[in-house]
Every structure is written in structure tokens, then in C-alpha cells.
Amino acid sequence: MVSRTETNSPRLRYVSIADDLQKQIESGTVNHGDRLPSQHEMAKQYGVSLTTLRAAVDLLEQRGLVRSAHGLGTFAQSPKPSDSAPQVLLVDDDPQVVDLLTAILEGEDLTVSSAGTAAEGIAKLETATFQAIFLDLIMPGGTGIDLLKAVELQGLKTPVVLVTGAGDAKLIDEAMDHGPITLIRKPIRVKQVRQVLEVLGVRNQAKV
């Protein structure tokens, strides 16, 4: 799926549906391993198109709360609590950008791990499971596209947030060929980052 999340849009229908399903999983109404109703049934239940429902399931999968098995259906997964492991990976060669994003994310009780190059970020992907990756595009030694390819290759569902400046249009187009991305334009606005975290459901699982 190639999509771009418009972070300034009003709350999207598929996000609300994903949030509702997430509540059911986290409250135990739906247990770990339970098979969810078919997507057709859920679409009917929520009164939305199948496309909208699929987007909600994709989002839940990115949040690590469901897994889809081809031909078998969609199954609920328990959230994995963690209060010490880094939850967000920041990949940017500008230390001041890393400082700002770290301050914002830590303000949301999230732990952060950072990398100054795409190669360093790829290495970190192998050491931890992240809830989200904030990624710059132009960096020394390789672009953010290299990391997107690694995410794709490893079959990770981790949502990627591109944090990029003007003038990178060609690279953004290329990035979108490697999976769903959310785009934040520099200069970074604090509220925008929080909106993205909310849409992607990124939160400190241990404190939920």
C-alpha cells in the first residue's frame, strides 16, 4: 500500500476504527489470538467501505496489535509492554533535529534511540523493535531510502515518518515506492509531531 498520511487532516475515519478496535484488544474484550470478524463483516458493522476498513486493519498491524494470515483471517495480538527499550528510532544527521525530536518524544513518555546515518539506523533495526521510525532523507553515506529498503526487506510493519525539508520531492516520490509513509515537513512543529504519534498510535505501552 502506498499512502501518505495528511497530518493536518481532521481525524480520519479509519484511524477512529483502528482506535476502537485497539481499545477492545487492550481492554481484553478481544483476547490475544482471537480471530476478528471478516473484513466484510467489520466494514458492514462500522458502515464504511472495505477500503477504509482495510486501512484500519493495516494501521493496527503497524501498531503490532493484529496480524493477518493469508486466507485465515486477522488475529488479535497482545501489546508488548516495555518501559526501558527504545520505542522510537530517530535517524537524522543533524544533531539539533535529533535533540528537538527527542525532547518532544520524551515529553510524551517515549524512549528514543538515535542514529546519524542510514547505515547506523539499519544496524539498530536489528537490535530492537520500534513502534515508529522518524527518518531524514538526505544524510551522509546514503539516503533514507536505504533504510526504507531495509524495513521492506525485513518485512517490518514499523510505521515510518519522513522528516524532510523542501526540495526533496524526487526522493519523497522514491520513498513512497517502499511502503506507507507519513510526511512531516521541516521546520518541525511540536503539535504536528504529537498528531502523528496519535494517528500512528505510538505511546509508551507500559503506561497505557
Partner: protein
């Protein structure tokens, strides 16, 4: 003086300067967004931290947090100031004064000026970490002219490594006391086949100062991604006369 005569006295270096200012400024304008955005972001956080205080007295707010944010704003502002100062001093420097200058200092300035402009071509400018490289190197040359032709060289380097890479510089002393400037372009991860063409006025300017410049030539370089892999980069070596004792 007629327009025709006025044009006749414009040196080749002066004729190229406006173009260089434009190219550097374009890169700097992009780069300035960085620190400005950082300052704005930390301002938002600082205001929130103050607003979060239940007491109207700022002393009751989390002052260490606010202070940290203010320090980040200060640091970003200083970075923005340095960027704009660099282009300003480059624009106003006029060739015509030959004296003993530290070419290492000149190249450090050139690195700061050009880095934002070549970054968009995915190129980094860096100084080689080499024991033979000099920390300071005095030569008898025109500082403003040296700065301009070195800027020209670095800005023309992306043509030799179209897929991005590193421009690495180092300064060494030759046996005869002259100062050697070594510029090498190293591709990130692909063999580059494009040539690095040196503008004629750059070549002439080095000669006018009693120095010289070689043509760019292919040179083997170690791959940044895989140190066992050898790639082809391009190398330019220029010399400048030793410092005068007069």
C-alpha cells in the same frame, strides 16, 4: 569609461563571483531552515513548559527544563548567525591583496560555505584525518582569490561523483616548502565515470599566484560502505608558494 571598456577590466574571477554567491546562497537558504526550525520548535516547548506551571510565578515552573530549551534556541541561533556571516564575508572579500595566509583556515571557511550547497547532491565536505596533514600552513597568496577558486572547485566536484560521496581535503608541505592542497572526491558506493572539469580561470588564478594545479585525474579510493571494495574517485592537487619571510 564606456560600458565596453568597463567590461574589459572585469577579471575572470570577478565575473564568476556573482554566480558563486548565488549558488552558495541557495544552499545556505536551504540550510538556514534547519536552525530556524529548531529555534521555533524549542520555543514552542519552552512556552508549554512555562504555561504548564500552575503558579503565575516563573520560578515555580520547571526552570531547568526551560533553561535547557533556551540553550538549544541560543545554539541554533548561533548556527544561523554563522551561516549568514559566512556568505556575507565571502561576498565582500575582494581579491588584490597578496600576503602570508594560513590556507588551512581558508579551506575550513570554504568547507563551511560549500557544504550546504553540495549537500543537496548528497555530497559531504570533510577534512582528511591524516598524520601528514598540517593543522596550519602559511603560504604567500591572495586570501580572497584562494577562497573563491577553492569554492569553485568544491562546487564543481559533484560532476565527478554524480551518485554522491565525499569531497576530502588535506594540506601538506612539499620538500621545496610550497604548500600542497589535495582534493579528492570519493563516491559513496558506485564507480563514477564522469570527469571533473577544472574551470580555466581557476587554473590561471593559481598560476598568477605563483602556484599550479594539476588536471583532475581518476584515483583509487576505498568504498565508504565496504572498506574491502575499491572505487574510482577523482583527485586535484594544487600548489601555492611558501610564506614570504619579508
Amino acid at each position: 569609461m564606456s560600458t565596453e571598456n568597463r567590461q574589459a577590466v572585469v577579471s575572470p574571477a570577478a565575473a564568476h563571483k556573482f554566480e558563486l554567491i548565488g549558488r552558495i546562497s541557495s544552499g545556505l537558504a536551504h540550510e538556514l531552515n534547519g536552525p530556524i526550525g529548531i529555534a521555533l520548535g524549542f520555543s514552542e516547548l519552552a512556552k508549554e513548559a512555562i504555561d504548564a506551571s500552575t503558579s503565575p510565578d516563573l520560578a515555580q515552573a520547571d526552570t531547568s527544563k526551560v533553561r535547557g530549551y533556551l540553550e538549544m534556541i541560543e545554539s541554533a541561533s548561533l548556527r544561523a548567525r554563522d551561516l549568514s556571516r559566512g556568505i556575507w564575508s565571502f561576498a565582500k572579500a575582494e581579491p588584490g591583496n597578496t600576503e602570508n595566509i594560513d590556507i588551512v583556515e581558508v579551506l575550513e571557511t570554504v568547507q563551511h560555505l560549500t557544504a550546504p550547497a553540495v549537500k543537496v547532491a548528497q555530497i559531504d565536505v570533510a577534512r582528511r584525518e591524516d598524520p601528514a596533514a598540517l593543522a596550519e600552513a602559511f603560504c604567500f597568496a591572495d586570501s580572497a582569490l584562494c577562497q573563491q577558486i577553492l569554492v569553485e572547485l568544491v562546487l564543481s566536484s559533484p560532476e565527478s561523483i554524480p551518485g554522491g560521496g565525499l569531497v576530502v581535503w588535506q594540506i601538506t608541505a612539499s620538500n621545496d616548502g610550497s604548500i600542497e592542497i589535495d582534493l579528492v572526491t570519493e563516491p559513496w558506493n558506485e564507480v563514477s565515470t564522469s570527469e571533473w572539469e577544472i574551470p580555466e580561470y581557476v587554473r590561471e588564478s593559481f598560476k598568477d599566484m605563483g602556484g599550479n594545479i594539476t588536471s583532475a585525474s581518476p584515483t583509487p579510493v576505498q568504498s565508504q560502505a565496504d572498506p574491502t571494495e575499491e572505487l574510482t574517485g577523482w583527485r586535484v592537487v594544487a600548489t601555492l608558494p611558501p610564506a614570504s619571510s619579508d
